[in-house]
Amino acid sequence: MNNNMVKNAAGREVVTEINGQPAIPFKGVGKYKPDGRKYAPRISSCNDYPDNGDKKVKSIMEALVRAGIKDGMTISTHHHFRNGDLLANMVFDAVNELGIKDIRWFPSASFPCHEHLIQYLDNGTIHHIEGSMNGPLGKYVSEGKMRGMAVLRSHGGRYQAVQDGEVEIDIAVIGAPKADPFGNANGLEGDSACGLLGFALADSQYADKVIIVTDNMVPFPCIPWQIQGNYVDFTVEVDKLGIPERIVSGTTRITKSPDRLMLAEMTARFCDATGIIQDGFSFQSGAGGTSLAVGEFFKDIMKQKGIRARFVRGGSNKYLVSMLEEDLVDYILDGQTFDLEGVRSMRENPRHVWTSPFTSYNYHGKGNFAPLVDVAILGATEVDVNFNANVVTHSDGYLLHGIGGWQNCLFSKTVIIPLPLVRDRVPVIIDEVTTLCGPGELIDVIVTERGIAVNPLRKDLLEKVKNSGLPVRSITELKEEAEKICGKPEKAQLDDEIIAAIKWVDGTIIDIVRKVKI
């Protein structure tokens, strides 16, 4: 690998080339200005498509062949089926059977169920993965076993990469819980219902060839068309796209952990004391245990004070849905549906609207929704004394998570990260993050069970929280307390070899990940 390293604007040493393509180092928040035009696929003609609108072919394999699959192509998939996905594995089974090699897999995210694909990394079918990795795939990559360099992007960053032509998708395979033979598709109905298909939007618009795979084919028209059939080349019907109970949960449960509930309550009290919760406000929280609980505490405060939110961004789930149905919220703007209640509500309620990474998060557009959100409640694996945060690796250096919408959400007006100060003897606040995913200037508040640290840049918040009775402490104090309890941690021993690049929302490289020494 011929790679000259440079120091980027965040002080991190990063590569200037990824898998043979030149790459731009991070220039600072809001500093990089893109040039040129958007990428566009070739012009199609109705001459080449069936007049009767029936694009059905017999199998995934046939679709790949007719799409002209060749060695070295880029194949993309979406992750709306989360850990219940069966499709990506089926696709690569077919690719492997065809003897095709050196594919770049471009998923919007991968999950432990994709461990199945490790064999195809081993045997050369897949050259490398550009997309976040969870669990076994992350471990595989961290240990240096993948041939190419991994690239991790946020949801918005993935859209931007496709739109700008940074990643040209040869074949997009889009799993659709409901579709018609023309290729119109949505995620609202069927055994594999997942709510929406926003993560596949860019794929449908920009890929050279688009294949819709469904286990619920209906006669034209499939309404509403979250994916438009006018972008689609082939449609395939299979028995099963995913395992329903792993796609959407039957019931989402708020954490019962008293420590996490305490964190959630402190977070809500902070938002109350600083006036963030007020009539017409908006918020976003993830679907993790603590985040859900924050939402419920918000709800209590809103009910008490007669406050109505203008919109909430999800990860929708039954808790958000009940806020909508109890008229505490005007709209749910939904990026991803996590449970059956979320799916039902999206289907039935016009105030529950699906969004895509284009509308919510794309940085190379004429604005996006992220900065319109008043408060975002996010997670992190590590935070450092400059409020920089990491979401992709742990302190042992292993790549175990994706970025998701996290980087994009950093643009919201106030970013709050509730974190246990000490997580099973892992101090979460440290001197310097192992991998930089989000610069400190965008991260406003860290809430821990032993105190709340407010970024000194936010003098307004510091002023408002002064007389609230909440335990405000400096981030350095919190770090020192963590170290006192756990002992000072040793840093991960990392190899020189670089196994992944972390992109910022504008496609520049904010950090890299090195191989772990086993």
Binding site: D259, R423, D424, R425, V426, G487
Partner: protein, 404 residues
């Protein structure tokens, strides 16, 4: 004697603990095998700690397998000591540093609204317990620890007393019954225990003998501060002897009732409404008040039903109890709010404090409201009520309060 000892806990749901397998050998030096989630960050320091510990106990040749899930050093040390002492006879104690934040005293008349039970062999529950602000924490060596684990729990509780920050909560230990309980005292008393909970108490005599034994241990260790006792009455006989128990020893500060065992003793089902235990509870309250100590109610076992807990706590307070046990941190807030002084009590206390101030200003020795004399303990209690009310932000219209 045995050659292999296994101490501690491991498993998919175990956090902040470790399992040790120690095999003492006759040659070969010390071999340590460490499996740990935090191997990268703390592997070297864990290994070093274990080597130092084995050296401390003069163990020269051994194989030690450690299965660690993020245990803190005081836990490692406790598990190691338990393992060594299962194999080797030694009186040495591997004591972690006694943190300054653990040396605070308690006082007889402090409020005991909520006391949180912490299973004595479960480190993960100890670490954040104090953050939830219980009035007291109970490191339990009795019913929440399996019989085979009681020995290793002693080291863990002792080390926790020295190291874990309980943020000002009253430091209590529930010992075992009978002789085991006597032995428990050796392990814990030298480490700033404020109060001993004595389970299944059925006679004043037992309490007296226990107190004497405790006093001897305190003297041996040169500990001057007072040790308090809270006997728990958990049987029909205990209820019969309620006053005798409550007044047996000067340092009994409270008497508690244990309803799970009590209802079992009666052969009835325990219910939320508590009719079956009403007699026992009323009797206990009466006996406690007659003896001048605090009556404390039992734990409420349904941790998911906060409404029922609130109702139970309200009822409990109304018949004279001054606190309840907790088995889950989320119960603490509800219990404290229920037992905290209500507006009426605050008003009365405020009047008494006012009268006290006036008496002081006038140089009078006696405090009175109108023609009614107010005894010193009543004044003291009123002042404490006002302090607590202020701390809990309950004083609304009162222009003056104790701390100004």
């Amino acid at each position: 004697m045995k050659k292999v000892a296994i101490t501690g806990n491991t498993g998919p749901r175990i956090r902040s603990d470790c399992e040790l397998k120690l095999e003492i050998k006759s040659s070969g030096g010390i071999k340590i095998n460490l499996e740990s989630k935090v191997r990268v960050m703390y592997g070297n320091s864990i290994t070093r700690l274990m080597k130092e510990g084995l050296d401390f106990f003069d163990v020269k040749h051994a194989v030690l397998d450690i299965n660690d899930s993020g245990a803190l050093p005081f836990v490692h040390m406790a598990r190691l000591e338990a393992a060594v002492k299962a194999l080797v006879k030694t009186d040495k104690e591997l004591l972690p540093e006694f943190s300054e934040h653990n040396k605070y005293p308690s006082e007889r008349e402090r409020f005991r609204f909520s006391r949180l039970y912490l299973p004595g062999n479960t480190p993960s529950m100890m670490l954040n317990a104090g953050l939830h602000s219980p009035d007291g924490i109970i490191l339990d060596l009795e019913d929440s620890v399996a019989p085979v684990k009681k020995q290793e729990a002693r080291f863990l509780v002792r080390n926790a007393l020295r190291q874990v920050n309980f943020y000002g909560a009253e430091r209590m230990v529930r010992i075992n019954q009978g002789e085991k309980g006597y032995d428990d005292l050796y392990y814990v008393l030298p480490h700033n225990v404020h109060l001993i909970l004595v389970p299944k108490c059925e006679s004043g005599k037992y309490l007296q003998e226990l107190a004497k034994h405790a006093e001897d241990i305190m003297d041996e260790n040169n500990i001057k501060q007072e040790l308090f006792f809270m006997p728990i009455i958990e049987s029909a006989m205990g209820v019969e002897k309620a006053y005798e128990i409550a007044s047996a020893v000067k340092n009994v500060v409270a008497v508690a009732i244990g309803l799970e065992d009590y209802t079992a003793d009666l052969g009835v089902q325990r219910t939320n409404e508590g009719e079956e235990s009403l007699y026992a509870r009323l009797r206990l309250v009466n006996a406690a008040k007659a003896a001048g100590v605090q009556p404390i109610d039992s734990v409420f076992s349904d941790v998911s039903d906060m409404e029922a807990l609130k109702a139970t706590a309200r009822m409990s307070k109304s018949i004279g109890f001054e606190g309840m046990g907790c088995i889950h941190p989320r119960q603490i807030q509800v219990i404290k709010a229920s037992f905290a002084p209500d507006p009426d009590e605050i008003r009365k206390a405020s009047e008494i404090v006012q009268a006290f101030r006036e008496a002081e200003e006038k140089g009078q020795g006696v405090v009175s409201i109108g023609s009614k004399m107010i005894d010193p303990p009543v004044v003291a209690r009123a002042r404490r009520t006002m302090t607590l009310a202020e701390k809990l932000n309950l004083i609304q219209d009162e222009p003056e309060s104790e701390n100004k």
